[in-house]
């Protein structure tokens, strides 16, 4: 097996070696359900779709994904295993990628376990399953972008709490990049061109268009570039801060 595969397997297993994985999955499922049925008024809407389920994913991820990503590198650094890992015959890129993919798979498992809601909506009505699949895809891509941001910020510190808080803040800014809260602040100091660029970075607007069932190449590319950029930043940060 390749180095990435071997590392990926070790990482993914390590989630399930401690109660962390189970706590995360249970909380994720409970919150996803609570949001959908109470805040999203799944039944009251009387619509055979999962809008009320997917609409809350960005906010759910905002707090749960940083809890997964905070340990990615901060823990390795704290326990000293980063030195072991990076002196094995694996490149830094392979290590960053394998850890990210394991975390992404883990969140993906949690997301897959929401399938009862999909069964429910199919039982109750006749939803457009194409839209639902597109929404799952968009949700997964957004989780990946959150995780990549978390990977980079986790690499910047050995303290998991700091990594968590930083990741929540940065993810929050990216979520709301298209909204007045962020745009007003940006427009007071920067020219209109930059403001428009910032508005285009919003997770919410890209996620919204995918979850409407419109799979636009630009939205997919946006999330993939976002992941690539933040993983590249992770590599740079680790390289820079290895000695600390």
């Amino acid at each position: 097996m390749s180095a990435v595969g071997t590392l990926f397997k070790r990482e993914l297993r390590s989630y399930f070696a401690t109660p962390v994985a189970y706590v995360f999955i249970v909380i994720f499922l409970i919150l996803a359900g609570a949001f959908t049925f109470y805040l999203g008024e799944f039944f009251e809407r009387g619509q055979a779709d999962l809008q009320s389920f997917f609409n809350f994913h960005p906010w759910l991820y905002l707090f749960l994904v940083p809890a997964v990503s905070m340990r990615l590198w901060a823990e390795e650094r704290k326990s000293g295993t980063i030195e072991l890992l990076l002196t094995l015959p694996v490149t830094l890129w392979q290590a960053v990628l394998a850890k990210f993919l394991a975390a992404w798979t883990f969140v993906g498992i949690a997301l897959l376990l929401t399938f009862p809601i999909w069964i429910t909506v199919n039982y109750l009505g006749d939803p457009d399953n194409g839209v639902i699949i597109a929404s799952y895809l968009g949700s997964m891509l957004m989780a990946g972008a959150f995780l990549a941001i978390g990977s980079c910020l986790s690499a910047a510190t050995r303290n998991q709490v700091i990594a968590f808080i930083l990741t929540v803040v940065v993810c929050f800014l990216f979520l709301l990049a298209g909204y007045p809260l962020v745009l007003n602040a940006v427009s007071t100091v920067l020219p209109q061109g930059v403001v428009d660029a910032v508005a285009g970075l919003s997770f919410l607007s890209h996620f919204a268009s995918i979850s409407k069932g419109v799979i636009d190449l630009r939205d997919l590319l946006y999330f993939l570039l976002m992941i690539g950029f933040w993983l590249y930043a992770s590599v740079l940060v680790i390289e820079l801060k290895k000695a600390d």
Binding site: R10, S79, T81, A243
Partner: protein, 312 residues
């Protein structure tokens, strides 16, 4: 073979390692000595490819650790300081992972896992999570990880730290057994270890190489080298007898245990003369010993000359 040339590491204005050059050949066990913060670990981290040198080069079996890092890492086993490991894994899972990432397969993989398990006596704990192990076992797991792929080059940062005397002895025996065809660097601040395992010792402090010699040569630098020490119930008689030996430069009495040490004049051999003089003067000695030299004293003299001079 390990070769470093002007290997340096700077952190801003701080010079952690200052142009260290040395070569270690197969069959040699190089002991890295120095006070804490001397630059031992930093040097080893650069050789292992974890830290990037600020200047200079390090090569392992001819592979430059910066230009061909993967090739260098494959021929090398490395035990980082403190023997870190992923604590949630069991010993077997952990060593299995290392075997996989090192590319060991099939029968060879099973054989190596069995061998290191036996050599480091890990069989009893093989199914236990590493977090639950004692410090001694954790250290042995770390060593097992480093030697798993039977590397030509071993870099071990404080391999015996935290082990009890029996375990220390076993690890030293293991290093000696592997030394024949491998190139090994061991860092330590336990001086007795130097004699037990090293064929050569480098003393570094402040990031500089201050001495590079065999343990015996280092001992010869001690002022105790060639001195004769004895214990007796008649210290005044003994002192009088020793004073009459021509080649004795000075006599000292240890204020704690009353042990008398006679120092020779430079280059002179006084053992026979001293023992004859004691007989002639009828001094009963319980014990009489020729000192080879004291490494701890040499170590202090090399790394901290001011302190030793102040005491002397």
């Amino acid at each position: 073979m390990i070769q470093t040339s002007n290997l340096s590491k700077h952190y801003g204005d701080l010079v952690a390692v200052d142009a260290i050059s040395f070569t270690v050949e197969p069959g040699q066990v190089l002991g890295f000595l120095g006070p804490n913060g001397a630059g031992k670990s930093t040097t080893m981290k650069m050789i292992a490819g974890f830290l990037t040198p600020s200047a200079g080069t390090a090569t392992v079996c001819g592979f430059d650790v910066e230009k061909e890092p993967m090739k260098a890492r494959r021929v090398m086993g490395y035990l980082p300081e403190g023997a870190p490991a992923w604590g949630e894994m069991t010993v077997l899972e952990y060593l299995g992972f290392i075997a996989d990432i090192r590319g060991l397969k099939g029968a060879e993989r099973a054989k190596r896992l069995r061998e290191v398990g036996e050599r480091l006596h890990l069989d009893g704990v093989i199914e236990q999570p590493i977090d639950t192990l004692s410090k001694g076992f954790k250290r042995r797991v770390g060593i097992a990880q480093a030697i798993l792929h039977d590397p030509q080059v071993l870099v071990l940062d404080e391999p015996t730290d935290g082990l009890d005397p029996n375990q220390k002895h076993e690890v030293r025996a293991l290093i000696n057994a592997m030394a024949r065809d491998k190139t090994i660097i061991v860092s330590t601040h336990i001086l007795e270890e130097v004699h037990a395992v090293c064929t050569r010792a480098i003393v570094i402090a402040g990031g500089k190489v201050l001495a590079d010699a065999t343990p015996t040569e280092l001992e010869a630098r001690s002022r105790y080298h060639g001195a004769v020490s004895l214990s007796t119930l008649q210290p005044s008689h003994a002192q009088a007898a020793l004073a009459q030996v021509a080649d004795v430069a000075s006599v000292e009495i240890d204020p704690q245990d009353g042990r008398i040490t006679a120092f020779p004049k430079p280059g002179r051999d006084i053992f026979v003369a001293v023992s004859d003089a004691l007989k002639v003067h009828n001094v009963t000695v319980h014990e009489l010993a020729l000192e080879a030299g004291r490494l701890d004293e040499v170590f202090r003299a090399i790394t901290h000359p001011a302190i030793v001079e102040g005491r002397a």
